[in-house]
Symmetry: C2
Subunit: 319 residues, 2 copies
């Protein structure tokens, strides 16, 4: 089958990659649509030492499964896999299971292929009124919903820094949950889309009153520095993005401000799929405006090159 | 009067410094004992642009006050001053009031002098069974108690990094509030005192299981890096110390770990005085072992030189 494979930070489309075999408790899923995530781009840059098929944002149809009730179902799948975990570690499982594999990220072939396997416990049925181009956003949308599990958002004067793919999902989710959201970007051009979505927008050098809550989605240490500067005392910063290999403008001064202003910083990663699917089914999150372009799976290398350009919205891949 | 004065990062004892005049609502306090805090040492290094009398850990006796009920009372005083604040800002006040002055730190002469003034709303009476050399620890002890207002500590597997003056107050407070505390230091020698206080101790290069809660008190970015490395997923790191002008070993990797492991980082500063006084009155915190040596106020320069040496416990000054 066709699969987008990463090895030694080199991306290629393999045409005769072996179709995966579902183990006991797993489903074989025919992939119908896949999203390219910033994490995929970071993996290509060597951010983690991963070799294998990429892709963890997908929707597909179950073709084979011991549990026949899944066969023919249109599904999305959570990405942290720990089928033998008994919860004894006391950690949030499987998201933080030390034994976990992660679809297309850690020791588990991903979904940028014609077929993928996952344990059935990772699968969720997609509501009939959620088409594939929406369902494919379930994983990043769940990551946005995760924030609402970590801190109170209703009524909070909130800045979402970074008007990119993830930032605009976060902004819509937090608005839906009652936050008063401003979307912050570096250029007027980057703020056109959030403005179209009805958000108050601001440029990062605007003179703004302090925020109660700031969500950092820029993958740029300057975004972090901006957040520390603009959060009110005792406010909360959610860190959604990681940084490549740069250091922030002034680490010591930023840390001092965190202490003196008693800022809370919360790292935030994967979130709950069911509420994300519910939001999509209710039609309260506009994902269609976030789609940049669809590529055929076999044009994966070109798709990644396109996705890596600045200000590009979501690139989708169709097997 | 004698006063320890800081100007252009230069410390001196001024012998004829004018005695302060209490304004309306303020008390004139004859200072009986003062502690030298790491913040004082940082101020001397130029960490903040402060000029004035240093000192914010003190105990004294009220000599003059419009409200005569205070006269003759032995008092300690909170250090953030904002007498006109009406709370409209919605911030934790006066600790985060943008208009505040801070005793011996921001635009307000401190207590390393024969006399100091403070608004009576900043004063607390010292219980009779708490002698001056204990009461002088109220401010840093309150800063330790602050942690228990910010996160749940009971039953948490907790590391206090840095067996110094503040670390050993924090360790005792958290133990009193039910945490399972390990004190972590860089050398065996530095761990003798926490061991004497009955704590499990560990060196920072020991192979330790992950902690639920880590309190960073080292003022060294390596302490921060250690905390990020040793906290469990979804665990909490309390930042009690600020860093001078060094950058951490690998900022990007640390931040990535905060996101991937969904770590919560909380800056922590001043705390509530009354619970701290209560703990001293109950005799549950041993502060006597934390005292290194007492100097006369007029020997303040020598006292600061002594306090700046590594592994030195609390230096006290007596006017």
């Amino acid at each position: 089958m066709n699969a987008i494979y990463l090895e030694d930070n080199k991306l290629s489309v393999r045409e005769s990659y072996p179709q995966p075999e579902p183990a006991a408790g797993e489903a074989l899923i025919r992939v119908t649509l896949i999203g390219v995530c910033s994490t995929d781009l970071e993996l290509v840059k060597g951010y983690y030492p991963y070799s294998g098929v990429l892709g963890h944002e997908f929707v597909g149809v179950v073709e084979r499964c011991d549990d026949t009730s899944w066969i023919g179902e249109r599904v999305v799948g959570t990405i942290n896999i720990s089928p033998t975990c008994d919860g004894a570690c006391g950690l949030r499982c499987p998201e933080h299971c030390p034994e976990r594999t992660v679809l297309g990220i850690v020791a588990k072939d991903g979904a940028m292929a014609e077929y993928v396997t996952l344990p059935t416990q990772n699968l969720l049925r997609v509501p009939a009124n959620v088409p594939d181009p929406s369902a494919v956003f379930t994983e990043p949308l769940a990551a946005a919903v995760r924030i609402t599990e970590q801190t109170a958002v209703a009524g909070q004067r909130t800045a979402v820094v970074g008007p990119g793919r993830l930032g605009l999902l976060v902004a819509q989710v937090l608005r839906h949950f009652g936050a008063d959201v401003t979307v912050v970007g570096r250029s007027e051009k980057s703020l056109a889309l959030p403005a179209k979505l009805g958000f108050v927008t601001a440029q990062n050098n605007d003179d703004l009153a302090a925020f109660d809550l700031i969500v950092e989605t820029t993958a740029n240490p300057n975004g972090f520095a901006w957040a520390v500067e603009k959060i009110r005392p005792n406010g909360t910063i959610i860190l959604k993005s990681t940084y490549a290999d740069t250091t922030p403008p002034n680490f010591a001064a930023l840390m001092a401000q965190i202490v003196v202003n008693e800022i809370t910083l919360i790292g935030s990663r994967c979130g709950p799929f069911q509420p994300a699917l519910d939001l999509l089914a209710q039609g309260v999150i506009d994902v269609s405006v976030l789609i940049e372009r669809e590529f055929a799976l076999q044009d994966g290398v070109a798709a990644f090159e396109h996705a890596a350009q600045p200000s590009v919205r979501k690139i989708l891949l169709r097997p």
